[in-house]
């Protein structure tokens, strides 16, 4: 049984954070242990929310509790970190996970989604950024899945064309030691691309666009990629990204059609991806032609 630890936010209603990652992974056969960094009613896209972020000591306690009952260093195939509410929590996660990987016989593969913001805006406090920098410099992160804004923030390079995209990746590699990089979406010439990089290769795949914005997209993307990454024996490839993007697209398309039917007009935003209702797409095995371009 493949085993994964997912550390991210919890919302009672809707699909972001652990709510967007846990079910897709479970449905694909994973035993998922989930640590919730928040307990909110819903995500901020609703205009209002209630609930609380988990205090750092509560997160520390949960990890301590897990260590008491299982072989924390060796039990997980993958450790997935997503939304963290503040630098103190992220620092605890960094310390605990680095310790686990360093002392492990069966190294867990650490996947980091550095949730910072999107569309030019920070969602979190700025003091999280240096902690992510330290995490990426540790040499222990197997895969990272930032969006364009997050990647620009961490690399310090603004992406406006393929030349600057390349520059951003080179700069990121100069600053940090991360084996595999996947930028979930990059906008160039009004089109969206998914950009991957491993072993000094850089490649990209076109993203089929839906004229609508979706909340929780990055979390779902990361979960789907984690599963394919495992299936592909942790070797990042364009075919892997192609498969993930196709599944993601089918789920988003389903979600768009569902809300269109429900409200009777063209939606401009889908607050909650229909992760459960569109579950058939989670485990379909697609044979796809991959239209990949290498930089």
């Amino acid at each position: 049984m493949k085993s994964l630890l997912s550390i991210s936010s919890h919302v009672v209603h809707g699909y972001v954070g652990n709510r967007a990652t846990v079910f897709p992974l479970q449905y694909a056969g994973w035993d998922v242990d989930a640590i919730n960094t928040t307990n909110f009613s819903n995500h901020p896209g609703y205009g209002s929310l209630s609930g609380t972020a988990s205090p750092p000591e509560a997160i520390q306690d949960i990890i301590l509790g897990l260590k008491q009952i299982l072989d924390f260093n060796n039990v997980y195939d993958i450790i997935l970190t997503g939304y963290t509410p503040n630098a103190e929590v992220l620092q605890i996660l960094k310390s605990e996970i680095e310790q686990a990987i360093t002392n492990s016989r069966n190294k867990p593969h650490w996947i980091v989604d550095p949730v910072l913001g999107d569309n030019g805006k920070l969602y979190v406090k700025e003091n999280l950024i240096p902690v992510y920098r330290d995490i990426f410099a540790s040499g222990l992160v197997e895969l990272t899945t930032p969006n364009q804004f997050e990647f620009e923030t961490l690399s310090g390079v603004k992406i406006v064309d393929w030349s600057t995209a390349k520059d951003a990746i080179y700069e990121f590699r100069k600053l940090y030691k991360v084996k595999n990089i996947v930028i979930s979406s990059v906008s160039i010439d009004d089109h969206l691309y998914c950009v991957g990089s491993s072993n000094d290769r850089i490649f990209y795949i076109s993203i089929e666009q839906i004229g609508c914005s979706f909340n929780g997209c990055g979390d779902l993307f990361t979960a789907l990629l984690a599963d394919e990454f495992y299936n592909g024996e942790y070797v990042l490839s364009p075919q892997m990204l192609s498969k993930v993007l196709y599944k993601l697209h089918k789920i988003l398309e389903f979600s768009y059609d569902d809300i269109f039917k429900r409200i009777g007009q063209i939606p401009t935003v889908v607050k909650d991806i229909r992760v459960v209702a569109a579950k058939e797409f989670l485990t379909s095995d697609y044979k796809l032609d991959t239209d990949v371009i290498y930089l």
Partner: protein
């Protein structure tokens, strides 16, 4: 789109509370909104755990946002582990509000179903604060519950009784129906030997079901597996909600009005799924335990294996192998046949 509000515990590792309920419901197409009453590292049966409980203020804020601001509509509500009286009280207030808001629904099939699993303990051992007993008794008078799924111990607590014979059992069940106006009662496990006299008594536990509008009470005999599992009641309640909802819906379409038929079919289906899940859990648990200890112990025959390896309460070393195999059992949750258990009518003679 079917949506359910689930108010249950969360453990980071393992499958009890919401963790045992949510995935099975999701595989059946339910949109589960889950409020975690606690966030623990693992369930308490390991002998050690860490974590925190929700406060009443936090629960109130979450429910107020969902119900009064986002105006989310639910087809069902399921509540399980709630650690103290004030959280039970707040939960009940909002369920009352949810039901009031949906009073205007014209069709019977649109009414929200509330399934209450009054998680308090088992085998005479309390899991929750003592104040929960009086609080559950108090809120039950509000007559909001449609289905209740206590085990024997919880049934005794709710009715201030000690069940030692069939008459006591029937009296306790009738109290739930009459004092609390609960239409459907499912007592998930009865073990007292004096209630069901049988030569094979120690090989079975019994599930007893009753509907308010019919006098017949039915019993299912369930073969016991010699191991301690946790989260079984939570999984049972979630599956029952799903099957009951489907069967009630189908019954309305087909013009069937017999409540006991609907309930017994649902329970039989759930027991069938549970039996497969527990068998799988036991099988995989033994495999895992053997794999983990294979270098240390020699086995000469299967009997030794089965006797040696089983889940034991407060023993973290065995408990971890016998977590319910909720994920691996995914293919069982679809079951919609007639059920594989024989139902009997409870005779008072």
């Amino acid at each position: 789109m079917k949506s359910v509000l689930s108010i249950q515990s969360h453990v980071s590792h393992g499958y009890v509370g919401g963790r045992a309920a949510i995935f099975p419901l999701q595989t059946q197409g339910w949109e589960v909104d889950n409020i975690n009453t606690v966030n623990f590292s693992n369930h308490t049966g390991y002998g050690s755990f860490k974590g925190t409980s929700l406060t009443s203020n936090e629960l109130n804020d979450l429910l107020n946002q969902l119900i009064n601001k986002l105006h989310i509509s639910y087809r069902a509500i399921i509540t399980g582990y709630i650690p103290n009286a004030s959280l039970i009280k707040t939960t009940n207030e909002y369920i009352s509000l949810i039901k009031q808001k949906q009073q205007q629904q014209k069709h019977e099939e649109e009414k929200v179903i509330y399934l209450l699993d009054p998680v308090m303990g088992d085998n005479n051992y309390l899991y929750v604060d003592k104040s929960c007993i009086v609080e559950y008794q108090s809120i039950l008078h509000n007559k909001l519950v449609d289905i209740i799924t206590p085990n024997q111990f919880e049934l005794e607590l709710l009715t201030n009784s000690k069940i030692i014979d069939k008459f006591g059992l029937v009296e306790a069940i009738n109290k739930l129906h009459n004092d609390y106006d609960i239409p459907y009662v499912v007592v998930t496990s009865i073990t007292s030997g004096s209630i069901f006299k049988s030569e094979e008594e120690d090989k079975y536990i019994h599930c007893v079901i009753s509907t308010k509008d019919q006098s017949i009470i039915k019993v299912f005999d369930i073969p016991m597996i010699k191991s301690y599992f946790t989260g079984v009641g939570d999984l049972f309640s979630a599956l029952l909600l799903d099957k009951f909802y489907k069967n009630k819906h189908d019954a309305i379409i087909n013009g069937i009005h017999d409540s006991m038929t609907i309930l017994s079919r649902s329970v039989n289906q759930v027991l069938t799924i549970m039996a497969k899940t527990l068998k799988l859990t036991h099988k995989l648990g033994i495999q895992q335990a053997i794999a983990a200890t294979r270098k240390d112990v020699n086995y000469n025959n299967n009997d030794d294996k089965d006797n040696f390896i089983s889940g034991k309460i407060n023993d973290g070393d065995t408990m971890k192998y016998f977590e319910l195999k909720i994920i691996q059992a995914k293919e069982y949750y679809d079951y919609d046949g007639d059920g594989e258990f024989i139902e009997k009518v409870l005779e008072l003679n």
